[in-house]
């Protein structure tokens, strides 16, 4: 599982701009919001989208991500729901760790934009 987490994490790291938003709170919000929706899409095939524009935005990023990883990593399609969720939770944890907790970017913690 570690290898697979790494594979997905590496891909996201090299592809997705939403994880690099400039401040800690943006990164947390995006990683949480987008990965949550992505897990739902992966496991249920669809997800709840509220009327807010921001929620819609998370859905947009999640949908693009899911289509992308499903075609790039065929093994993902063979997993059951629980496995998918578990792997994606790990990916989320790793992203949060790299992009927020351990980030060496000193500007992440500035108070304004």
């Amino acid at each position: 599982m570690d290898d697979r987490v790494e594979e997905l994490y590496s891909y996201i790291q090299s592809r997705c701009l939403w994880q690099f938003f400039p401040r800690e709170w943006d990164r947390r919000a995006n990683i949480e919001g987008i990965l949550e929706k992505a897990i739902e899409l992966l496991t249920e095939g669809e997800c709840q989208v509220s009327e807010t524009l921001l929620d819609r935005y998370f859905y947009v990023e999640a949908k693009a991500l899911v289509i992308d990883v499903k075609s790039r990593f065929p093994w993902l399609n063979e997993l059951n729901k629980a496995e998918k969720r578990a792997i994606m939770e790990e990916v989320k944890k790793k992203l949060m760790e790299v992009m927020v907790v351990k980030s060496l970017n000193p500007e992440l913690r500035l108070s304004g934009y």
Partner: protein
């Protein structure tokens, strides 16, 4: 081998933390080059000043306002005719620039009267233009001229004009990046929300951080139009002053240059709840992804797919021809900041090239997070790179081509290395499907030019010096 100290930097070891070579197993939490900190004097930096970040990069691209630079004449002169941003307003923004032409007496007694007169004269010279941006510069900031007060007085007196003041002297911050920041934040604070744009589509966006270099923005605007999407604020290429005052009415912010204009997108999100969608507009794969996301956002994926299919059919064969010939070529990207990470994967994944060194002038740590995440191992990453370092990099990586500015390009041509204008986009536009084909074409033309072979030959020697 994380950070590297170039030979030329042995006498300034502080440079080591700005120069990084990615090794196997390393990621952005192992090493991250220092960025957006002050330049060491005398290093022959490529950086400009904060004023130029505000004027030359952002404000100067707005098509329907007068540029008034409050300072000695050089600040206006030197930020004029140095950009290729077009507009559909007969390129007014390229043709005209105003200065208060500050002289010694104004430095001693203050320049506010002169500013007021200059503003009124400029409005009189261009009676059809009712908008203006006034920029403070080093000298006028030091003497404490209150440009806001003058702007309000003139607005009051003339009645039908609107003036935006940018208070960002050249010595502020460490590079032009500070000027981007100031312009963004001041525009958000002073101007956004002042105008109510006419809305003709349920799908509205702002395009943010796109400067219509060689018509890049026209391509993006065309894509939006074909999808039935209304662009309200184009910040700032081909941008209209009043429409940019109505940016708060868009449903989505499509961000291209996150470095120079991410700030205003963040503020629009914070204040108005408008989401920020960052896209990469260079490369087929990336632009298609960006268009799909915009389509998904508005529930018009079908329109996005149709557009992508049309464009791909038209341009894919051309790109493939170039790809075959560019595969394996080594390239350096030495530009401002974001183009490092925007371009690296597009060059590598879509053209099969190898990006061997990247240097940025005014990037921040997040630009390096992106560049290093996307870049390969063994590649050199430099913040605020300078000429002597470039020579060593060239010696080490032996690139086939370099994307950089014209002046550095004039330097590397002597080393038999072709350059392409990474800021002005050689023979652009470069965005979108056709743009990426232009980019590939420019690289092909430069790399395969017979002149480089001839340049290497020494006719004094029987073997031509090979």
């Amino acid at each position: 081998m994380p950070f590297v100290l170039f030979r030329c930097d042995e006498v300034i070891p502080e440079r080591e933390k700005h120069c990084y070579v990615k090794s196997p197993g390393e990621d952005i939490v192992t090493y991250l080059p220092a960025a957006n900190i002050a330049t060491i004097p005398g290093t022959l930096t490529e950086r400009g000043c904060a004023y130029c970040g505000a004027k030359l990069v952002i404000g100067g691209a707005i098509k329907d306002c007068i540029q008034m630079i409050h300072g000695p004449v050089g600040c206006a002169y030197n930020t004029w005719h140095t950009k290729r941003y077009l507009s559909d307003n007969n390129d007014f923004q390229l043709k005209h620039v105003c200065s208060t032409d500050m002289k010694e007496s104004h430095i001693v007694f203050g320049g506010m009267d002169r500013l007021k007169k200059s503003i009124k004269e400029a409005f009189a010279a261009y009676p059809e233009i009712k908008r203006m941006i006034v920029y403070i510069t080093c000298a006028t900031a030091l003497i404490g001229d209150d440009i806001d007060a003058i702007a309000r007085e003139v607005e009051e007196e003339l009645g039908d004009v609107d003036i935006f003041c940018v208070k960002c002297p050249g010595f502020a911050g460490v590079s032009q990046s500070k000027g981007h920041h100031e312009f963004n934040m001041e525009w958000m604070r002073d101007k956004v929300g002042e105008c109510e744009p006419e809305i003709w589509s349920p799908y509205t966006v702002n395009i943010i951080g796109e400067y219509n270099i060689q018509g890049d923005g026209f391509i993006m605007e065309n894509y939006m139009k074909r999808m039935g999407i209304q662009v309200i604020g184009h910040f700032t290429g081909n941008g209209s002053y009043d429409l940019l005052r109505g940016m708060h009415r868009a449903k989505l912010n499509v961000v291209i240059c996150a470095r120079s204009a991410g700030y205003i997108a963040n503020e629009l999100k914070r204040r108005y709840g408008i989401p920020r969608l960052d896209i990469d507009p260079w490369g087929f794969d990336y632009i298609a992804e960006g268009l799909r996301k915009i389509g998904t956002f508005f529930g018009i994926e079908d329109r996005a797919e149709k557009l992508i299919a049309e464009e791909t059919a038209k341009w894919r064969p051309k790109l493939d021809w170039y790809k075959e010939r560019l595969a394996g070529k080594k390239i350096c990207i030495w530009t401002g900041g974001p183009r490092l990470w925007h371009w690296v994967k597009a060059f590598e994944d879509e053209l099969g090239m190898r990006v061997v060194a990247m240097s940025c002038k005014f990037g921040h740590p997040d630009d390096f997070e992106k560049a290093i995440s996307r870049g390969r191992e063994g590649t050199i990453y430099i913040d605020d790179g300078n000429e002597l370092e470039f020579f060593e990099v060239i010696e080490k990586v032996k690139p086939d081509i370099i994307y950089t500015g014209p002046r550095v390009g004039d330097l590397v041509k002597k080393l038999h290395i072709p350059y392409l204008d990474g800021h002005g986009e050689h023979n652009g536009p470069y965005m979108g499907f056709e743009g990426f084909v232009h980019m590939a074409r420019d690289m092909y033309n430069a790399i395969y030019s017979k002149l480089w072979q001839l340049a290497k030959e020494d006719i004094r020697r029987k073997d031509n010096g090979r």
